[in-house]
Symmetry: C2
Subunit: 529 residues, 2 copies
Amino acid sequence: MALPRLKIFGWGREGEGLTPAEEAFALDIHRARFGVSDLPAIPTPTLADIRLRAPRIAPPASLARICTTDVYERAQHAHSKGFTDSVRVLANDFSNAPDIIAYPETEPDIAAVMDWAGSAGAALIPFGGGSSVCGGVTPPRDAKAVVTLDLAKLDKVLEIDRSSRAARIQAGVFGPHLEHQLRPHGLTMRHYPQSFECSTLGGWIATRSGGHYATLYTHIDDFVESLRIVTPAGTLETRRLPGSGAGPSPDRMFIGSEGILGVITEAWMRLQDRPTFRAGGAVRFTDFFTAARALRVMSQAGLYPSNCRILDPQEAYNTGAADGSVAIMVLAFESADHPLDAWMARALEICGDFGGKPEAPGGGDAHREGAAEQWRNAFIRMPFARELMTPRAILSDTFETAITWDRFETFHDSVKSATDNAILQATGRPGQVTCRFTHVYPDGPAPYFSFHGLGRHGALLEQWDTIKKAASDAVIDGGGTITHHHAVGREHRPWYDRQRPDLFATALKAAKKALDPHGVMNPGVLIDP
Amino acid sequence: MALPRLKIFGWGREGEGLTPAEEAFALDIHRARFGVSDLPAIPTPTLADIRLRAPRIAPPASLARICTTDVYERAQHAHSKGFTDSVRVLANDFSNAPDIIAYPETEPDIAAVMDWAGSAGAALIPFGGGSSVCGGVTPPRDAKAVVTLDLAKLDKVLEIDRSSRAARIQAGVFGPHLEHQLRPHGLTMRHYPQSFECSTLGGWIATRSGGHYATLYTHIDDFVESLRIVTPAGTLETRRLPGSGAGPSPDRMFIGSEGILGVITEAWMRLQDRPTFRAGGAVRFTDFFTAARALRVMSQAGLYPSNCRILDPQEAYNTGAADGSVAIMVLAFESADHPLDAWMARALEICGDFGGKPEAPGGGDAHREGAAEQWRNAFIRMPFARELMTPRAILSDTFETAITWDRFETFHDSVKSATDNAILQATGRPGQVTCRFTHVYPDGPAPYFSFHGLGRHGALLEQWDTIKKAASDAVIDGGGTITHHHAVGREHRPWYDRQRPDLFATALKAAKKALDPHGVMNPGVLIDP
């Protein structure tokens, strides 16, 4: 699978991006939203424009084979893929580019790089696809030197256990290449974060990625059967078990550890049969909260749809799924075992109890039609929009959380209003804050907010800070989590610190000190060095 | 709910036990099994027979109010409820009885007891219902002094969130009292470990208890929404969230920590609506492995029966569920939302593909009839049998594990044969080893083994050691877990040490040292002081 290389500015690989029609659709919406007739773009720097400081360290001869200081490589690993990253790339700011990129081929390579980084006093940043939208792979600015450890060469499915539906998989594999290797066995992971094409198994596990399933097992956490991890103190492997009650789960200490304890090199993952039965479609509701109340009942009914996302009217309009007057529920069941008529019938009954109207009543399987398909396409293409927006000074970002049902409506309103106000304050004109649910649990939803404001070049970072701070404060003050599935990274640290119990940080810091005594691994992420 | 007090010898509360008919049934089976005409019992010590050493420490005046040195209390807290405990009680061995029993009424009480235990150099043993079958609440023999902290007074449901189906519950509440408090709200936890009547919420969480549901969310772990924990370093509370991706889960560090990090005082727990729809019954299979293969398909079908346990022919016979010629699957679906016909029909189709025959074909809802009900009764009554067995020198115990499907059949045979051989070696005559599944996952089952051998008074502990060691070695050598839901306690330590990665122990030890610097909490459990 020889693919074009990843872009430095923007999402995906070189040659990929929005079509002219998609661009026109998005720009039309933004011109109307902000009441402007033009949205001029400033130019994007090219590779030839990028100047990097000389590497502050050099690898020992024994590691030269797997290390590079190539400018594209250093620039490509200098930023994550959030809004602030797009601003810095646009400003040709590569001042914190890593000094060295290492491409280990084996676990001993990783251990050797760790040893070297430790002795050189360098920070080591594990890197999968680099798709973090919260600064997860961004090198710290205060490090003496930075080595980024790119896992791209560890990309194989090593072993398949068909009867247990599990596979041993190297952590550096990208989503599509993983699925490609599983397909001949009739298996699939069915884990499709929005970043699917630009992110890796190891990244999903290290950040507690949320995936395809909107209910039941939504996070990657539940699909991990066992892990192999290289830490500065040595390598460890957990036992492959379908379930265990032997002490605190070792896997759960590393799932979500965002590279601060070590590098995940392999995992046995629980897989799925490829679905052969499907039922689904879109359901219209008069408003978002009514849709949410229907979804609460659905989430507690034990039906477990694979998809039951809801979009508020404006979000539905923005993605072309509706005309702005109704909220939309995208509903889908899938199975490799049985027809889903009984499941779908009961789900539509629940929707009906709240006035929900199927888009195509009696139209059979509509999961790839109408609003549902429209939303699905928009979902996959959305990350490409940023390279259109930022050069036009459009502040465009998302944040996501989770909250119990009893607090949801108040929480939604206070978060939306705090964010709306901050956009007005930061940019001097109203913007837009929309909401959808990405995942739902019996005890509450995971609301996902998108916001747009018209900013000003030169002030974008400051404007974004104002909005991000207001939104994040409202999330934490309202009892939510600072991230349901994006991760903490460097950008969510202040609010993560308010969310996690202090004594948990004390315990985690002690655990890190035991595994990473010299503080080499991703310093500053999750806890202070 | 004023209940009789817990027994010192045997299961449950004073006045409870097997009926004469149940005793006769069990003894008939054992006489036939061992080919003996009589099974004479030695007498059980009474409270008046028990002599305890003088307490080695005394509480400060400020704590005298919540502390006791009463002989019943100290004797009742001297042992767990495993086989070895029953032998020691029978031998009137209370040499390791705790010095003081504290009954805290508040979190500050707990913190004060911790401080005092720390300054007195005493070990502090958190105690819920004391139903551990692996020495989880047994005081260490090498401690300078021992204080047992009994949470019985923290037994309230403090808050209900009906819309999120969750409640804030104190950790010391026993199963029946918990359900009693939830019932007026139409809610239930539906967590019914075999110990349900004699165990507490805090104990379930601290030991990663397995419960009612045979599929999907089987462990208590998944029902924990947030925790409050008092540690020697202070009190912490995790945020109440339906889901989160913010760093490693703080809850998961304490779930399964078996009292070594602190004392769980409260939890927000995810609850269920009381089921109103049911479908189920028993299905007969020619043999255990065929039933297991059917169950593998069922576990991967996405049907999620609340019960789908299988019993091997001998286990089915022992519980009166069948005549010994067939394996039994106990199958049940339940819902508070929808009829279950489609679910049950597909499940029976899967069973049919493997020759499984419903006990009452066309008989409608058979979940409380025939073999299924027979097994259910036997399951609940089983723990009472030990007080019949041990005085008769019958080595009777269980152990449980989990293993992926690809290894299950080989694993089953090697564990069974190692245990069979060890019984013969230890007792000089054949015994019996039977197996059932208590829980199943898409990637493998949780097999639960029971064994019986005819031992000899005076040699019971040594005979049990031989059998336990052979069985546990086979479990670990075969790739299983030393416990799927019973816990590690003191008895599983040697095999837990072989199972968990060394570097995880290193990290856990560092975390413990940070939260419990003086090593007060349950020393010797999970990790060395």
